[in-house]
């Protein structure tokens, strides 16, 4: 659906949009959601450094302990959480690979409040596939991609692939 070049171009555009929308990078912190959002956040961080010459802190967040389906389905932390410093007063850009139901983002918003009161939180996603179950919308989107609810969207820096759900 998207090639590696498409993904890179989208990330460069998102980086420009972040700078434009916020009129600079004052207090900006990028936080990638584990696991799919982390490489995207790191790539956006490098692009921001190239275009603005400023280093933007990049963190990573695993939202397992904040999910609303704990006890309903198997929930385990998948990877490390590493938030750079106190988030009080900062402008946080959450980065994830796919925006689907919105429940992961809801969990991430709750998790963030435990690290201090951010001045604002924005959301960047590579793919918005629809089917939201919560009133959440992205600020920066790589690609809007209408999907069936049982399809699977795989995002990596190598591209975006749409396929059938792998039976578990």
């Amino acid at each position: 659906m998207l090639s590696a070049e498409d993904v890179h171009r989208a990330l460069v555009r998102i980086a420009h949009e972040i700078v434009e929308h916020n009129r600079g990078l004052q207090d900006t912190v990028l936080i990638g959601l584990q696991t799919g959002g982390v490489p995207l956040a790191q790539r956006i961080g490098r692009v921001l450094e190239e275009i603005e010459g400023a280093t933007v802190p990049v963190g990573m967040l695993d939202v397992a302990f904040y999910r609303d389906d704990i006890g309903i389905r198997p929930v385990l932390p998948e990877a490390a959480t590493d938030i750079p410093g106190d988030l009080a007063g900062s402008l946080v850009v959450l980065v994830d690979d796919v925006l689907f139901t919105g429940r992961t983002v809801r969990a991430a918003l709750n998790a963030l409040t435990d690290y201090g009161r951010a001045r604002a939180v924005q959301l960047a996603v590579m793919v918005d596939r629809g089917h939201r179950q919560l009133p959440i919308r992205p600020d920066y989107v790589g690609k809007n991609m209408p999907t069936r609810i049982d399809e699977q969207v795989d995002v990596s820096l190598d591209g975006v692939v749409l396929g059938d759900v792998v039976p578990r």
């Binding site: 302990f65 309903i72 198997p74 990877a79 689907f100 759900v165």
Partner: protein, 337 residues
């Protein structure tokens, strides 16, 4: 996740039930809770609405506080049921007490009891998860898990690697001496099993009167009575508490003689190889099994063990209470939402 050793509808009664895979999972999840412990607000909503009861028929302030702190940091409700007083004095049986508390709606029982097997009994009576917090001379699984976590953390720091990526590979061939009152020690039993599962080479060092009557099924490298001979060649020197309150004194000519042969005195600590780690489950009998000043040596992990204890117990409670359930609705979760 239904095949996991710890999960919904399961208990933590013995380290032997976990196996290497289960131990690794606990340590991996504990990494995430160590990070939680470093936050300005060291608390997550993971077990909101769940109730954890600590049922201690034997006093143990540190273990009970560690479990209760762990449960609270997971946002669970905590009820404390000290069995030493209360209804036991009025003649109520353990079973009646447990069933009464269970009827109030409990998700997990953390049980400490002077009789081996009591937590396994409790598990028969309730539909909640049961965690063995020490039963007689039998087992103390969470202590062994937090000790393994601490060893893994120290090994990773020495190697300059991330503990998560290292996994439990560092335990292969690791030389550990477990020193002291092995006979009366549930800590030793759980630890030896955990280390054996992870591939460490464990030597028990104890006077003849303080080794258990049967070792046949223990995964041990050796049993020796000569501490000085092994100190130079161990990576971890694990000192057990001399359990005088369990009658260990009756097995020894004198406490002073024990110290002179098996205490990690300052003289003996000098025999330890470079980089060897000194561990103790606490509470320490200073001047008995451990010198007054050894616990302050940089290589001693005593307080680190306590800190890690909270994270490891959070991992155990989360795995038992929070990771269950089946996948049904593709929109309910999973990758890429």
């Amino acid at each position: 996740m239904s095949g996991a050793p710890l999960g919904a509808g399961r208990h933590l009664l013995s380290v032997a039930d976990l196996g290497a895979e289960g131990i690794e999972e606990v340590l991996r999840v504990a990494d995430a809770f160590v990070e939680v412990g470093r936050r300005p607000i060291p608390k997550v909503p993971a077990l909101r609405g769940r109730t954890v009861v600590t049922l201690f028929a034997e006093e143990s302030t540190r273990t009970r506080l560690s479990f209760e702190t762990a449960a609270r940091r997971l946002s669970a409700d905590v009820m404390s049921c000290p069995m030493a007083g209360s209804s036991v004095k009025k003649g109520e049986s353990l079973r009646d007490t447990v069933e009464t508390v269970n009827a109030m709606g409990v998700d997990a029982f953390v049980v400490r009891h002077p009789s081996a097997g009591a937590p396994a009994q409790v598990a028969q009576w309730v539909d909640a998860a049961v965690v063995n917090a020490g039963d007689g001379w039998h087992e103390h699984p969470t202590q062994a898990l937090l000790d393994c976590y601490t060893i893994r953390q120290v090994l990773a720091e020495r190697a300059g690697t991330d503990p998560a990526s290292a996994g439990t590979a560092g335990f292969r061939g690791l030389k550990v001496a477990v020193v002291g009152d092995v006979r009366h020690s549930r800590v030793a039993r759980s630890l030896v099993w955990a280390l054996g599962a992870l591939g460490a080479r464990t030597t028990v060092v104890a006077p003849g009167s303080l080794v258990p009557t049967s070792f046949d099924d223990w995964p041990l490298e050796a049993v020796t009575h000569d501490l000085d001979a092994v100190l130079g060649d161990v990576d971890v020197c694990y000192l057990l508490r001399l359990q005088l309150e369990r009658g260990a004194g009756a097995y020894l000519p004198s406490v002073r003689e024990y110290t002179s042969a098996y205490g990690l005195t300052a003289r003996r600590a000098a025999l330890l190889g470079e980089g060897a780690v000194v561990m103790h489950p606490g509470p320490m009998n200073r001047g008995v099994e451990i010198a007054d000043d050894v616990a302050e040596l940089p290589a001693s992990t005593v307080l680190r063990q306590v800190r890690n204890g909270v994270a490891v117990r959070m991992a155990v409670l989360f795995l038992l209470l929070g990771s269950g359930g089946a996948v049904e609705d593709p929109a309910a979760g999973g990758a890429g939402d």
